[in-house]
Symmetry: D3
Subunit: 244 residues, 6 copies
């Protein structure tokens, strides 16, 4: 049902998350003429930049590096990107930040929202980002909430895959076939040179989720051996007029 009017909004705690975890979904949307907006609540400057700190970089340098990398990756994926620079480790929830997200919702009118899981025992910033993404979506739907633009519809929300899925109560409700755009995702990953070990990790993950695409696909779909996949977890019921 994707159309040129499609608009995916990705709300992530740190710069980089959107590439590894949702790059396929973003590229699928933009390759079909839809719009993608990535909001990075922080640059991941403290919690996800261990190498840069060890190399003696300072806070401003690290933010600048991560911003440039994320912009390059977004560019490859065909996505717009914004940075709210709210700080990480910890990413503190605040009503101001939620309000900024409400404004983004009203402005971009997403037809699809991607964010972190609500549980992650290894990273408190991820659930904090997810809680704010969901709260802002609810507020943006209210006529009485003061922010420019019309009240939001009810776009579906998905959690993308966390690092340790079983520990984060992640259940793969949807296996997304990203075969057609995997080369684009791979290129976007390669624009993040500081985390080269992640390139093969997420290529392998795409292959494994691709195997599950085949294992769970009905006979209708012509699935090839090189299938690549991304896993997602739904927050709300799937509304459809076709069960398969």
């Amino acid at each position: 049902m994707t159309s040129a009017r499609d608009s995916v909004l990705v709300i992530s705690a740190h710069a980089g998350d959107f590439v590894w975890r949702a790059g396929g979904a973003i590229a699928l949307t933009t390759s079909r003429g839809g719009r993608a907006m990535v909001v990075c609540l922080s640059y991941g400057e403290r919690g996800e930049s261990a190498r840069a700190w060890r190399e003696g970089k300072n806070l401003q340098e690290i933010k600048a590096i991560r911003r440039a990398e994320a912009e390059a990756a977004a560019d490859i994926l065909g996505a717009e990107i914004r940075f709210l620079d709210a700080g990480d480790y910890p990413l503190l929830e605040s009503q101001e930040l939620v309000d900024q997200l409400v404004h983004v919702y009203r402005e971009t009118e997403p037809t699809l929202v991607l964010t972190h899981t609500l549980v992650d025992p290894y990273n408190g910033d991820h659930p904090a980002a997810a809680r704010m993404a969901i709260q802002a979506r609810i507020l943006a739907q209210a006529v009485g909430y003061e922010a420019p633009g019309a009240p939001l519809g009810a776009p579906p929300v998905f959690s993308f895959e966390p690092h340790q899925s079983e520990m984060s109560q992640f259940h793969p409700d949807v296996l997304l076939d990203i075969t057609d755009v995997f080369e684009i995702k791979r290129k976007a990953m390669e624009s993040l040179p500081a985390q080269q070990h992640m390139w093969s990790y997420y290529t392998d993950l795409a292959t494994r989720r691709g195997v599950q695409v085949k294992r769970n696909a009905g006979p209708n779909l012509g699935i090839s051996d090189g299938t690549k996949g991304e896993a997602y977890m739904r927050h709300y019921p799937h509304v459809t007029d076709r069960l398969n």
Copy 2:
């Protein structure tokens, strides 16, 4: 993604279940040129025919009545129907019955399977039917299982809505918009005269699930006020190449 090749297989414990709980999904499939096969493991002659017993009918009479009613309803929905006459209250699980289901799977090559929930504290036949439906699907996929026809693909399986959803651990993963075929479902319900109070019950339920269709639908969908819905719970991950 429904096409003329679509084939829905409905496996239910008793005659009648398929009308109330899955009539919309069946009619959507057949109205689009797909095939629907309903398998009734029993007639519901003991557990779901209280009125007939109270009227003094005997076992054979009750079976005949329920069979005729179910055939009429299937006809309206455009579905084929088979009766395995395995008895109800209790519906006893057996390897013979599972084997019969494997044969049906191999013969009909369903692209979609609908059955009961795996939990139902009010009716032991429902989970028994669901367990056999799922076991047979797994067996039918094995090359080494001896039954005519080719090994099955991996059709998605859904539970349709039980009577007391919260008590049966039913989670509405999918809300199916059945507005376009609701009149057909209503007619099929009306061909079951012994349970007239169910007509309005299931019309009301369709309206309530329709309200949730609207409440959960993204802005992409033009949903009207008279929307009717059916709720389903997925057993396996949804394989797709589009998240919305």
Copy 3:
């Protein structure tokens, strides 16, 4: 075990909630000579007044309208009502608000507490209200907490039914037979003219829960066809000296 000393405390996020969701429990208590106190944390002025906003009313007008309606409904149910005017969408949790609730607990000495569910993916204000209701109950029990009155006993706490029960992890632990007071609840609902579509929605819900009352009642109870019910979820174990 209700007696003239009974005192039900209802803590709700918005004005109106107490009528739709707990009107029967309130009327049962007051009709038997007990006391009912309703605390509305907000008027629901932003999130639950879409029509008024669309009609061009301003914030103060909307608050006044909703206050008047809620007072009229409380009057019909025989309940006292207080408004804390803490704002909605979002209802922000604060220690000041919790402290106000502690004072209400100490003052009213409830024998029964009704509030929202702790999970509601469609409305963040509901869980926020429930969390504060429960925290205040714990604090009010402590001798060392500074507030007028004696330390609280341990009144049972129930969640009333949310809009989308399965999505809010609502489990109907208790089905309350409200047949005897349903006409009073209906009148209270009719005093909320802006939400006329809710009158029939909640009448239907009462009928459905009434059917479950009959389906789950033991042979001891003489349950008639017109039975009406409300569903509740317990937070703490039920203390009793009789299992049925």
Copy 4:
């Protein structure tokens, strides 16, 4: 709501279970003029008679000993008792056994059913007994099920407390105040001389559950320091016309 018409049916896997785990509920019922029927599916001759085996007793001797002890305990509690002698370790589920239970249901018309938990990783006989108790209750409700007597109403079902509650997913939904009859339960326990260490274990448990009775009781109840309790888990919603 207990009255002279009350009838509690206890379905347990082994002789003895009903004393330790439900003796208080039984004594409360009979002390108020109600009827109690205990059905022991087996004597616990293999799995719960380690001492007797070690002493060199043979199978028939062990069965006779346990039968006599259970009869003595039932007598003290004022309960009738039946032994189905279906064997233990393992207690095998069968349709014949379920049918026997249906006959007991139809004959005794219980207003309350007590049985084991559906989960117990330490003892497979306990869940087997619980599954049969619940299946038989459903069958006994069906007009079309052939057994003497009228179709059953819908008596509430409770699981009594297993040995390792957290491992058996036991949730104490109800804390029963058994203070008034605890001396009777104690005497019944003392009629089981082979398991003398259990006397103090279950007296201590009654004290601990009694402390929780006090900790969870609202201000309405006058609970003394010597309160004794038993914990139960509900299978179906509680139907009532009073929340407290």
Copy 5:
């Protein structure tokens, strides 16, 4: 694998908790030459000092009493102890408090962390303490987090046993054999004279958990009749090179 380098960090909401719930684990560590550090976020001056308030003591007096008692108990257990005096009932979460905990983590380099459960419907301070303990552990691991000392490793985290285990979703993942140090724990308990009824309560609990130690231990372990135990719940997977 405990060695002289072992360092256990106990983070508890109130003074006293560490004795009742984790005294055995602490004594085991120190008796083997390891280090134990207890951090009390508050003195439990409001919520856990009912007797002192009833005796008319004021806030400063109560804090002093509880501090002295906790220091005496820590001394017996061979543990260091610190008091953050953050207030209780409610214990308010703050980033300042979390930051203090990060400093403690970096300073003590724990190889083991013990804290409360994340759920406790009877006491909001317990989950608040657990959430802060876990958040601080994550932050202390980040190179980029500014605090003295090296980034933390990933010490395992356990919840000790809450008062009402089933209600707090406590699952006994680990049963710790504390037989060898139980006399030390008992002495530490006896240094808290205001709560004398707890001495026998926690001695009985140690006996019951000891029975479960025997019931769950493989044949490898020589477990005696007087075995004492403490139960713990793991937050992260157990890393080991031996399954038994």
Copy 6:
């Protein structure tokens, strides 16, 4: 705590499972002088031998091939192996089969038991094997159960990792460091030539679980970059006298 007396019992549905899923645990035990016994309930002749069927082999040939392969792999791992030849797809539960397992338990006196998960929506044989493994363990503990040998102690039971962990409710309670024996496991895998694609799949999995070993290990353990791991889920509480 592994010693020369250690004895691991692996109960698996099909030949081959023990190599992919538990080869590391087996090799760790035998490399330290312990004993390993593998029981294959079937050869996996129907459900896990698709290639052989497609090549036109008959049932007896397929059984012989799989038996030879499994024996070769067991030999490399230093394990004994037995085949019960109970058939697969479906593996039917029977009391005879459980009794055979009781005999194995009594004979081998395992100190550790490894089997499948109790949930697996893709393969009904796996839960069937796990249920029988657990039932037999309980029966073998009973003095009164007639089988040669002494009543069993209570060896810990673990589920090894299923194919689709999140769908099978698999929670990685234990991460086993198998680095030291990984080369042996790899060789054992290579003795199963028909499933060459599994060699790299399970090598990759071992690497991924190895990364989690490092991510979850406390500072005590010297974990290198090439760490390999296997994940396990515990059925019973871990009994120990050291928390780390």
